[in-house]
Symmetry: C2
Subunit: 242 residues, 2 copies
Amino acid sequence: VDDLAERIRESIRRREVIVIVGDCEVEYRGRASSRLGRGERVILIKGDGTVLVHRPSGANPVNYQPEGSIVSVYEQDGRLVLRSLRPRPEEELVIVLHRVLDFRSYRLEDTATFKMWGDEESIKRAILLEPEAILGESLKPVEEEVRLGAAGYADLMFVDESGNYVVVEVKKDTAGVEAVYQLKRYVDRLRNATGFRVRGILAAPGFTRSAIIALGKEGLEFRRVDMRKVYELTRGGIANFL
Amino acid sequence: VDDLAERIRESIRRREVIVIVGDCEVEYRGRASSRLGRGERVILIKGDGTVLVHRPSGANPVNYQPEGSIVSVYEQDGRLVLRSLRPRPEEELVIVLHRVLDFRSYRLEDTATFKMWGDEESIKRAILLEPEAILGESLKPVEEEVRLGAAGYADLMFVDESGNYVVVEVKKDTAGVEAVYQLKRYVDRLRNATGFRVRGILAAPGFTRSAIIALGKEGLEFRRVDMRKVYELTRGGIANFL
DNA sequence: GCGTGTATATCGCCG
DNA sequence: CGGCGATGTACACGC
């Protein structure tokens, strides 16, 4: 056990990626507290301090500590103990290993860049490129500098053909009630700040029934976004991929 | 490569936990799309179909597929390919392995139960146990059956000493503006449904400045929750841990 | 560091 | 399964 502890410490010093498989119990104390009894799990420790405890099923780690945590390894009552301390917020994760089934350490090289598209940002770009194609009406973008207060910006702002301000809130998924009230906050703030008439449009690929009801009650509008058109207009992003 | 593919397939059939370390590139297509160029990573495949691709740093997997996905393994252009298909929403993850540094498979036993406490639920329990100690006023709980509609319930409902309904919305962290509007929706709904006077209280360990302003504007109240009192009152939950 | 909003969020609950 | 709200959410960005 003592020897294994030293080997793990050496891997941590080298900032390698460590995989430990073993029978362990886990305790967490911090913003909340948790306890997990004995069982066999996969423990992943990365060079940046990340610690993940994975059970044999489930996509999410049952316990974890994010990068920047300090991992220490020691022996207690003849058992190997991994302790990870996160400084802020102060949180502690303790893994007591009853039996180590496997211990591996890897020095990995990975400098590739990760690219993602098709997120909310690409819908915004498409609307800015062709407001009429996506929202079905001619709109002039307002300088991004126009803001709605110290915090909380609208996704997009336009002026319509009648000279009204138009606040557009974009959602990449089906929009629910909370998106409606988010839009309403922006519209109200802009009305208060300017005194002008302000329209609010919720743009999303779909809407929940209650969202549509709430929109009507609040005097707000909605536009269904055709994601195929978004992909066409933002294929510049996809070009990076091909 | 062919032999390795068959060994991996066999592990998947046995629903074991698989750890593959190797130089790979990764593509994802689904709700969004992503591409990750060549680099060395740790790939975790679980018996339930979960697939995780971890880079040498960062707490979150760079790509993933949740449980219920179907993993297939094949050889293409002399390279090992892992393909995971998630049925709904339809999403595809493709991992092309240029070099396999390690392949391990484990049959793991883990039947332990995971317990967590100190979350929002414990604040609710404390308020129900001792409304006066936490909220500073005498309140009678209303049957939990009283609901505010098909979806979206208030956290807690009481009747105060004057016979008014009191809706309490609880937050375990600092409450921001959106918590205020969430409470307002509940209060409005209950007013409409009953026609009675309804008070709304936001209970949290802290409040953002803009939340307090919004509360005042909407005629809603707030109470700072003393988390030490919550811990004292709910130490029954902690007893499970000791 | 605070406040706000996004996420391939994930997850659990209820109708 | 849809809709909604919580999460030890994590994460980025602006002030």
